[in-house]
């Protein structure tokens, strides 16, 4: 009895300080809400998913808050976008977390960009005279259903690799996701059909993949170069560009300042449309996501763009 008591006390002490085992098989941490939604789609109840950034945040500029390193400490899988989207904040968090297996190339790391073909890959000499570009290519591919399907497949494969007993479940859920994606694509194609070939003005080149998928294109960007502020001269030059292209829609993610867009709209007769930058891009206070998941996000994007570009 005397020997048992210290052992029980020690066990109780360890239980208070040790990481708590989650009910779910895997604790998945993602860098964005969009990736979190995809992980929930294919992981279902076998995964507990947390996003490091909020949907209302510009994913380029998340604070490397040490509290986020605590979330990474016990992550069974880290899913990031890649292509240097998170280069300004994720690397120090991974180092602080002490979770070596979620480091780049680690067994518990899945970089979504590894599953997709990349657009806007610089082919010539690269320096920052062309703005704060991503040298590895454009990382904003999670609004393109073709690429999202590949990312979901990659997540399912990685989940199955880390949780073999759940592999069949992940495969089933992926098949279900693909089926719903196929049905949704029919609906989205119908919505976008009237505006196919139209041109729009965007704030940043974050809609490159979406526009390519939707059959639209960007006549110009409010940012003269990626990551730089639009000076009056650039906004003035965009007036002519927008008029010549017949671009009515000026698309601005909800986390950007809208003043330049509104001035442009005033001079072109166009319409400024606030679009969600991600799942939860309109409102995610207290965990209430709006749009609530990736399908709702894509629904919102298709609806807003098709209405504005008419």
């Amino acid at each position: 009895m005397n020997r048992t008591k210290p052992a029980l006390l020690l066990a109780a002490l360890l239980a208070t300080v040790a990481p708590r085992a989650a009910v779910a098989a895997l604790n998945v941490v993602t860098t964005t809400e969009g990736l979190a939604s995809l992980a929930r789609e294919v992981g279902g109840e076998r995964v507990q998913v947390t996003s490091l950034s909020r949907g209302v945040q510009d994913p380029h500029f998340v604070d490397a808050n040490p509290s986020l390193a605590v979330r990474l400490r016990n992550a069974d899988l880290l899913i990031d976008v890649g292509l240097d989207l998170e280069v300004g904040w994720l690397p120090p968090l991974v180092i602080q977390s002490r979770n070596a297996e979620i480091a780049t190339g680690g067994r518990r790391r899945f970089t979504a960009a590894s599953a997709v073909s990349v657009m806007e890959l610089p082919t010539g000499p690269v320096d920052r005279s062309v703005g704060d570009l991503h040298p590895a290519g454009n990382p904003h591919f999670l609004d393109d259903p073709r690429r999202v399907e590949r990312v979901a497949a990659g997540i399912a494969a990685k989940l199955g690799e880390l949780d073999p007993p759940g592999a069949a479940t992940y495969a089933e859920r992926l098949a279900s996701f693909r089926k719903r994606l196929g049905e949704a694509q029919v609906r989205w194609a119908q919505e976008l059909a009237p505006v196919k070939g139209r041109k729009v003005i965007a704030q940043h080149n974050s809609l490159t993949y979406f526009l390519d998928w939707a059959g639209l294109s960007a006549a110009g960007y409010l940012e003269p170069k990626p990551g730089t502020a639009p000076p009056p001269s650039h906004v003035a030059s965009l007036v002519g560009v927008a008029r010549a292209a017949g671009a009515k829609a000026i698309l601005v993610e909800s986390y950007y300042d809208r003043r330049s867009a509104e001035v442009l709209a005033k001079h072109t007769g166009g319409k400024v449309v606030a679009i969600p930058g991600d799942v939860g891009g309109f409102r995610d206070e207290g965990g209430h996501l709006d749009p609530k998941d990736w399908f709702a996000y894509q629904d919102t994007l298709v609806r807003l763009v098709s209405e504005a570009a008419r």
């Binding site: 490397a64 040490p66 390193a69 605590v70 400490r73 300004g88 070596a100 590894s114 599953a115 986390y255």
Partner: protein
């Protein structure tokens, strides 16, 4: 007893390295080997996956045409192995109404009295890379008008168990908040006077090692224990110094973060000179609604130093920067408003021990413009009050630029 110890080791191992079958198997293997798993059992930051370990998704065919077969190997192989290389330059235009060098010594930029003087402060060259599957290295060389030197050069072990992380080499001491940050990350152009006079004029740093433990708490709590040969205060001689720091961060709602830290350093005597103890407390509170890049950050540090007998060198050079009792205190409080992506403003209030005893008080303001993430222009003005009521005005126009791949900085 041996069995209990073995079980305890296995339980701790499981607690620190995750749950599930893998960890159980690893713990079992550790028991069978009679030791903890080798450090290479986990891949560190930047480590490349072994050949043939691509995930099914990575190996999946893409929508684009299959690439042509690669012949002759990768012509960029040497380039791929290069570390991240960066250079950060800092220069200023300074103007003062005081003879700063004689009355208010510091290493940060100042001009001769009533003279507008351009000053090149520093060029920092960074080399950062993973060393091998077990560690990474960060090297920062500094070039100033006084010469070239090593600002930091340390190895970080990435695969230690039990939430431990170790750094060894030349490094800034884990004391307070600003001391561990490189000057180009500071909000204000110069170092608070209290840090220069109570810690070290160019930052408390030196050769040694720092072991940090991330506690298994729901909030971020990190305990540092370090041992370094540092050059404190205005001295030229190194002291072997033991340091401890506890740093904690808490989320306060969804839009703000509170960080608090306690630090202590004990420097032993050196060459017949007395040792000294320094304790410090720091606080950082940042409010940043997630949908914006604007933020308000409040930050403060307070330091108390107790020194033994005056070092002979300092006594010979003039009055010491602490009072007769051998103790001194100082600190600063600052508020920095980041207004969107391109502008920032700050206010700082300071108290530091002055030369000859008594407090030196200073108030500073700055306005900054950031054309991009890689360039910054700041105009800073300060009003300095010395013991006896003597006052001075300082002005700095500081330019900063960064090129190359420079690793992101901790919060």
């Amino acid at each position: 007893m041996t069995t209990v110890c073995t079980l305890l080791a296995a339980a701790l191992l499981a607690a620190t390295q995750g749950t599930g079958n893998d960890s159980e198997l690893e713990a079992q293997v550790a028991r069978e080997l009679g030791a903890a798993p080798a450090p290479g059992s986990q891949a560190p930051t930047g480590a490349q996956p072994p050949a043939g370990t691509r995930s099914p998704a990575q190996a999946a065919p893409q929508a684009v045409a299959a690439p042509a077969p690669v012949t002759g190997g990768n012509p960029y192989a040497r380039v791929l192995l290069l570390p991240d290389i960066s250079a950060i330059g800092r220069a200023a235009l300074a103007w003062n109404t005081l003879e700063v060098g004689a009355l208010s010594p510091r290493s940060d930029p100042y001009a001769p009295r009533h003279t507008l003087r351009p000053i090149f402060q520093e060029l920092e060259v960074g080399l950062q890379a993973v060393v091998d599957p077990y560690a990474r290295a960060d090297v920062f060389l500094t070039f100033t008008p006084q010469g070239a030197g090593v600002e930091e050069a340390y190895l970080t072990a990435l695969s230690l168990p039990f939430g431990l992380q170790a750094r060894a080499g030349e490094l800034y001491a884990p004391f307070g908040r600003l001391n561990q940050q490189h000057p180009h990350t500071w909000d204000f152009v110069d170092r608070p006077l209290a840090l220069a006079r109570l810690l070290a004029v160019d930052g408390l740093s030196g050769a040694g090692f720092d072991v940090a433990w991330l506690a298994p708490t729901p909030w971020f709590a990190e305990l540092h224990l370090a041992y370094q040969a540092v050059t404190p205060g205005l001295e030229a001689r190194q002291h072997d110094t033991g340091l401890a720091r506890l740093s904690q961060f808490f989320d306060v709602g969804t839009a703000s973060t509170l960080g608090v830290g306690l630090s202590a350093a004990h420097a032993g005597g050196s060459g017949g000179e007395a040792g000294r103890d320094v304790v410090g407390a720091d606080v950082y509170y940042k409010i940043r609604p997630p949908q914006t890049r604007s933020s308000l950050a409040l930050q403060g540090e307070a330091l108390l130093r107790r020194a033994g007998d005056l070092p002979a060198g300092i006594a010979a050079a003039g009055a010491p920067p602490f009072d007769e009792a051998g103790s001194a205190w100082g600190g600063y409080l600052q508020a920095v408003l980041r207004d969107g992506a391109y502008a920032s403003y700050g206010l700082r209030l300071e108290r530091a021990p002055a030369l000859g005893g008594g407090p030196e008080l200073r108030a500073s303001v700055f306005a900054g413009w950031l054309p991009s993430e890689f360039e910054r222009l700041r105009l800073q003005a300060a009003y300095d009050v010395l013991p006896g009521g003597r006052t001075g005005v300082e002005a700095l126009l500081a330019l900063e630029f960064a090129i190359g791949a420079h690793g992101a900085h901790p919060f």
